[in-house]
């Protein structure tokens, strides 16, 4: 088995990742009434807003403390405090999620202390009620958007969760970066087990909502803050994704309140979804509801119906590590061989996670961590892949190789419906499976002289 750590190039050429504060802003958008706030210079918030708008096509207001040279030299306390006052006044948020950028991190701003001082300064101000201020430390030279996301979810739970009497029907669902459709589906699944999910974060409505009759300062939706407070009383935490390197919400809840943490791979594919459903059966003490087992049955049936058209195809998979691990597992169970996989993330666990996958008749893939698209391009030169699975940034390589790209994950900014793409559970797997099969059939039809008119 070939594994390695990417090329020896010093520069990153066409990155396969985004920066830490982007992930934090996304996570904060999943808390009800919470306004993301970047402590640093203006450009970070503008770029991140622009980037996320292209994926979600929804308003993405991210405030900034707007550093200038003065703040870079003397510290950003004043800017933070003015900025907070302004957002409290104009947005009336139920929480503010403050993420630091490389700038404020490097000058050593003590944001926790600033926030405490801000709270005590404003204590006598009856015009201004101070909502929870959640602080995530997210220097962009440390990790990627994935780590920023993980850290922000950890900070949300760390700041808000409280202990109390154990509630048997309450379960913390802690997914890593998935689509709004995935979040909705997860909520629905947990409800079907007659459990109450505290899905954190939940940006499903906020980043995929209806048009408005009047402008909303902060769009509706998100995990209610009162629910997050109850995280410490849940029967269990189910973390969907197993590659984070830093602290996790599930870990914090286990340490602080003894909430059992169950760490699962992202549920893509029958086997990975079975694991999630199995855990929910255990937590709820109930069998999987019939309509889910029916969905599972139909999925397996479709696997069988389509197997001839996909068996032995060769795929390149890239993106966030959890997506990569689960997608490779899913492909293995349908008979598509992953020949190369890579992630911009560098948890150090990607290779081991891929190694644990039951590969069936397939050879294990070459695994590259901390990859950029030029590394991937070089590695892809002689693997003879039939398709690529990953986010929009792989388009250039797919075009170069003359093979189709099935878009999953974040960012998907060159296709419609990123928010509606379902990846998780039997239903999400079904959608992904059909897209993959049809992509390959379409290509076959395009290159065949007679066309494939009946299968």
């Amino acid at each position: 088995m070939m594994t390695d750590q990417g090329s020896s190039f010093v520069a990153t050429r066409n990155a396969c990742k985004m920066c830490t504060p982007l992930g934090a802003c996304l996570a904060f958008s999943g808390v009800e009434g919470c306004l993301p706030f970047l402590h640093g210079s203006q450009g970070c918030s503008t770029y991140i807003r622009r980037y996320l708008i292209s994926h979600f096509r929804e308003p993405m207001d991210i405030a900034s403390s707007n550093f200038d040279e003065q703040s870079a030299i003397f510290g950003g306390q004043n800017n933070l405090s003015i900025g907070l006052r302004h957002v409290l006044e104009s947005y009336r948020p139920k929480a503010v999620g403050i993420a630091t950028t490389c700038l404020s991190e490097t000058i050593g701003d003590d944001v926790s202390m600033f926030l405490n001082e801000f709270r005590s300064e404003q204590a006598g101000n009856t015009d201004l009620s101070i909502p929870p201020l959640i602080h995530a430390s997210t220097p962009s030279y440390h990790g990627s958007h994935f780590d920023g996301y993980t850290e922000a979810v950890a900070a949300i739970v760390d700041t808000l969760a409280e202990g109390g009497k154990r509630q048997d029907d309450l379960v913390n669902i802690l997914p890593f970066i998935v689509s709004p459709a995935d979040l909705r589906h997860l909520r629905e699944i947990v409800h079907d087990f007659r459990l109450t999910p505290i899905l954190t974060p939940d940006y499903s409505d906020r980043l995929d909502g209806p048009p408005w009759q009047q402008y909303q300062r902060i769009p509706d939706g998100g995990t209610p803050i009162d629910m997050i407070r109850r995280c410490g009383t849940a029967a269990a935490s189910i973390q969907l994704g197993d590659t984070p390197t830093g602290r996790t919400a599930a870990g914090i809840l286990a340490a602080k309140f003894d909430v059992p943490a169950m760490v699962l791979p992202m549920p893509i594919g029958v086997r990975a979804s079975d694991q999630m459903f199995g855990v929910l059966e255990k937590v709820s003490g109930r069998p999987t509801p019939q309509h889910h087992t029916a969905e599972r049955g139909r999925l397996v049936d479709s696997y069988i119906d389509a197997h001839k058209y996909i068996f032995g195809k060769r795929a390149i998979v890239f993106g966030d590590e959890d997506f990569v691990v689960s997608t490779v597992g899913f492909l293995a169970e349908i008979g598509i061989q992953t020949v190369l996989c890579g992630s911009g993330g560098q948890s150090g666990t990607l290779k081991a996670s891929i190694n644990r996958i039951e590969m069936g008749p397939s050879e294990p893939p070459r695994v590259i961590e901390g990859v950029d698209f030029e590394d991937l391009t070089e590695a892809a030169a002689d693997v003879h892949a039939d398709l690529m699975i990953g986010h929009s940034k792989g388009y250039k390589l797919a075009r170069q190789l003359g093979i189709p790209l099935v878009r999953i994950g974040l960012p998907v900014h060159d296709r419609f419906g990123a928010s509606r793409m379902l990846h998780v559970g039997y239903r999400g797997t079904q959608q992904l499976f059909d897209r993959i099969v049809n992509t390959l059939l379409e290509q076959r039809q395009d290159i065949s002289e007679m066309g494939y008119t009946y299968l």
């Binding site: 190039f9 010093v10 520069a11 990153t12 050429r13 066409n14 990155a15 990742k17 985004m18 920066c19 830490t20 982007l22 706030f37 210079s41 203006q42 450009g43 918030s45 503008t46 770029y47 807003r49 622009r50 980037y51 708008i53 292209s54 929804e58 308003p59 993405m60 405030a63 900034s64 403390s65 707007n66 550093f67 200038d68 040279e69 870079a72 800017n79 933070l80 003015i82 900025g83 302004h86 957002v87 104009s90 947005y91 950028t101 490389c102 700038l103 000058i107 220097p139 962009s140 030279y141 440390h142 209806p210 048009p211 408005w212 009759q213 009047q214 402008y215 300062r217 940034k393 250039k396």
Partner: protein, 514 residues
Amino acid sequence: MREAIDILDARRRQVHTKGAQPFQLDCEKHSVAGSVSQRACVFCGSRVVLYPITDALHLVHGPIGCAAYTWDIRGAQSSGSQLHRMSFSTDLREKDVIYGGEKKCETALIELIGRYRPKAAFVYATCIVGLIGDDLEAVCRRVTAQTGVETIPVHSEGFAGSKKDGYTAACAALDRLVGSSESPPPDGPSINILGDFNIAGETWVIRDYYERMGVNVISTITGDGRVDDIRRAHHAQLNVVQCSGSMKGLARLMKQKYDIPFVHVSYFGLEDVSKALYDVAETFNDPAMMQRTKRLVRDEISAVMPRLRRYRDALQGKKAAVYTGGAFKAFSLVRSLRTLGVQTVIAGSQTGNPQDYQQLESLCDDGTVLLDDTNPLELAKFIDQTGADLLIGGVKERPIAYKLGVAFCDHNHERKRCLAGYEGMVNFANEVYSSVCSPVWSLSPRKQHASSVKRSIAPGPLVTADAGLPLNAKVPQCPTAATAPSPGSDSQACGVCQLKAHCSGLAAQETETA
């Protein structure tokens, strides 16, 4: 009941309603902390300007975000090298921040230059580089000496001002290239095109106009830019500057150093593009060139007017909000919209100066709201108050419009459709029309609620004439592949009164179209 959105106290003086009080608008201020400004940073300003220099290597020295978010994001096309579309970053890590990033930057440059053989290299300093104090000048000197490829630092630390300061940094970097070629000057009248970025091939359209007038274009800075052309730019007799905010700095430097005069122009809208061409022709004081220019303007306007008139019929009486990066483009948009029968009710920019806003005010009708460095809440508030049917801006403004059931037209560097020049005006009209008149708005809750809103959906023929996504639109061709565009027919021109200043005496009679 609607909940009123207030303007932050710190921003009250950056908002003005024409006619409500004597004109006064604060501008050129640092964005108010917590105001969710639509502005970007110094790095963004530099990156925007230098990005379309296609055969240069662009290395972003900093953590990954700055490079990731600017990877191939703009629609600046190239007739040759595509190197500018690559996203290179030193992807700084914690240990670089502690021990300094110079070594990494130098090694990265040397290996990238070795691999990609660029004509020159630009190295952008981001926030963090300014803080840790990497000496980019020294790094670039060493790399230039070692590789023989001129390597130029761009002092674009994000926090060191606004986007405008990034333009200045980019101009300073360009100034190092200009005048470094020893090739002889060309014969005949010659210009540089400054401040056009070849979005969707716009520079090619403009360049073609000048060449038809008999003017040599020495360099296009920076759209479809080439390092060697920029080195020769000092041979030009005139600098023609669009997007004055970004490139006036370079024009000024070239005036000082090489005594090259410059004119400000805009290529958006029939009036402004015509004025641009006449202004350039006037500078050369050559009757034959002026004759050619008049013919070009007449032919082009004749060709597009009948098409535009049909859009105007559909759009007459609609109201628009305009929010642009620079103020100069806002003037053109207000005029262009007027050509289409659309009234501007909100006008603003991220970076206007006092003169800009004064001019904008005089251009707009009473009641128009002027905004400097505005934010989503204010934009939404005024769209609601004025009943605008259309917002023109960049990607960050789009969801504000859509959520409120208002049409949107992208007019920034990410647009995929040529909006400059005469044909560009038709594309613009088509884009405005196909959004404002789309039936989807009638389903939006805000429109359903406001029963007083009059809807008019233009019928079929217009749709078949020019509608269609950018894919079907007339796309400027890369000059290396292009054939000469066919001039308009000999039909008569100028049916729009605003154009009389530039077209009078040519053919004032309106053309009736089938």
